[in-house]
Subunit: 331 residues, 2 copies
DNA sequence: CTCCCATTTGGGAGCGCTCCCAAACTGGGA
DNA sequence: TCCCAGTTTGGGAGCGCTCCCAAATGGGAG
């Protein structure tokens, strides 16, 4: 019996006070006399008391945990440095709260239901969700369950959900303007999939600067798709001298094809990517790329969620964070 | 009152059975008549009942969750594809259990204590921990708290803790043999730090094949250290025609130095790295590298932990998973 | 010295579940 | 018909905590 972990009553007995006083000390109430507080803290220390999260949750009806949902196989996402940054930002913002973070991966649409079942009040107090596809029913389901949620990236479906996003259009505008300022005359883009918000926004930003009739080919953000798109551009566009790719992997694929075709980079063709991935640092030449302030995005997501948990209404306006161009050798 | 979430009693009343029967159905007991089970399932469905994790934990004394602890800023770790693989492996292995994964980053040694306090029975049932440094007190602390734990990578301190590791020595042997089979006569290695287990094991594997008097220079796994080591090797070793580097970044650094010195790769000097990082895919030439089966490692870690949670004793032998050589252009 | 109000304290009630025991069934054999 | 062993069922007890109310305490004013 003495081997079992101490409960709040054990502590109360040891400190010579009542259960209520221990609870007040543990929860930081000010309504406790200094002497009582001291006795309780000493007893906690001696006994190695750790409050039972389960018992507390049962009565407070809070779980003190939030879910971070990653609706992708994760293969691609994890490799992206901005993902690491987001997680770090979230983690840092949570560090001075009581909240724990659940990591929930949704490796396939079939698994969605399993994860969705966990996204309820009995399990978490709120939800953070990364890059979802257009048809993802999860955000709406979470909202329907009455759970606070914050997304990363603008949801393509019409759901009205608070979100944090990088200024995708602005970043694309900046990259394209930069190419223009370099004196490039024939600028093309390798756009991302148009059923994903960043794909749409980056193309939009590109067009605002390059014009609506600038050459466009589409990829799926992957390296191979970038290479394919680059081949199509080379076939189609004469005197091409600059390419803005909507992702770094696509830019790397493009780089490969351009070099294979004998172009010098950046002399013949300048290339700019999007994301600032580490692979881009080791390409030949290193990739110039639009950088997303990932850690700030993670922090902002958490801030928005914490505000909702504190009872504030869900913000109706998204938080948009600025991007910046990271110049390396390819442009 | 009807707005509050249904409890097990609500379900019992709706189904016309007792509380115990609902509990048996929810927990999959076979001792329930088909008609009762059907009625309960129908009631659960109609009411949208979700069992309270807190109430269940309170009585079972299990939390149905495990912690994944990442004792690093995460910057480097997240970028490594093997990290993504491990997480995916864990996630997949957890998918058909009731267990949830709590992600816990330890961005700095100062944060260790905060995380350590959470690693108790009241919070998690078990712990998975990635690449810890030599002086990391966390594993011992977790063991001391009587919590099951499984590490990824052999612990450097003497603690006797179950772990999963890649076959570092075998991978190094394979890489070195491969270079030998290519007909290379003068094979050197850039070894990792000898106060880290993978550094030691990879050097050991190299020596088993290349011999104890083969040239060795040491780095700290980083790119710059690899470049420096390569310079020292070039100074020291005449007619060098192959290098095995104990990490991909070091291999990339070596590649850079070799190219600067006018060597052709792989014609003059063949280079093999270790880890299969994405940056290695985009070097010139792409890096041949020893690949770790990360997803399998994640699965194995989870399997070992689940076995302990099921009451089996902690395994005294580590699980070692095989590596394989991924051939690209540099060797 | 008494009274009164503010501060501090103790502990009952109850959160929703699982465990377990005893009661209520069932059906086959005597 | 009754009995008995096995199966199925209901619900009391209790997990460890917070909430809250009422009681105890303290100190200043009258």
């Amino acid at each position: 019996m003495s081997t079992s972990r101490p409960t709040i009553d054990t502590v109360a007995a040891r400190a010579g006070v009542g259960r209520g006083t221990v609870s007040r000390v543990v929860n930081g109430s000010t309504q406790v006399s200094p002497s009582a507080r001291e006795a309780v803290l000493a007893a906690i220390d001696e006994l190695g008391y750790v409050p039972s999260r389960a018992a507390r949750s049962l009565v407070t009806r809070r779980t003190d945990s939030i879910a971070l949902v990653i609706p992708e196989p994760g293969e691609r996402l994890f490799a992206e440095p901005y993902f690491a940054g987001i997680v770090r930002g979230i983690s840092a913002a949570l560090a001075d709260t009581q909240l724990q973070m659940w990591l929930s991966m949704v490796p396939s649409p079939a698994e969605r239901d399993r994860v969705g079942r966990y996204l309820t009040r009995e399990h978490v107090d709120g939800v953070l969700m990364l890059s979802q596809h257009a048809d993802d029913p999860l955000p709406a389901r979470v909202v329907g369950a009455g759970l606070p949620i914050v997304l990363c990236g603008r949801p393509l479906s019409g759901v009205d959900v608070p979100y944090v996003d990088a200024d995708n259009a602005g970043g694309a505008r900046g990259a394209t303007s930069y190419l223009k300022d370099l004196g490039r005359l024939r600028i093309a883009t390798i756009a991302g999939p148009q059923d994903m918000a960043p794909g749409v926004a980056r193309l939009e930003g590109f067009r605002e600067v390059a014009g609506d009739d600038a050459p466009v080919e589409y990829g799926d953000f992957s390296e191979d798709s970038g290479a394919d798109a680059m081949r199509r551009l080379l076939d189609r566009v004469a005197e091409l001298d600059a390419v803005f790719a909507a992702s770094d992997p696509m830019a790397l694929g493009a780089l490969r094809v351009l070099k294979e075709s004998g172009r010098r980079i950046p002399d013949d063709v300048a290339v700019v990517g999007f994301d600032g991935s580490p692979a881009g640092r080791h390409s030949e030449p290193p990739l110039t790329s639009v950088h997303q302030p990932a850690e700030a995005m993670g922090r902002e997501m958490t801030r928005l969620l914490l505000a909702q948990l504190a009872g504030e209404p869900a913000p109706s306006e998204p938080v948009i964070v600025e991007t910046h161009l990271e110049r390396r050798g390819s442009a």
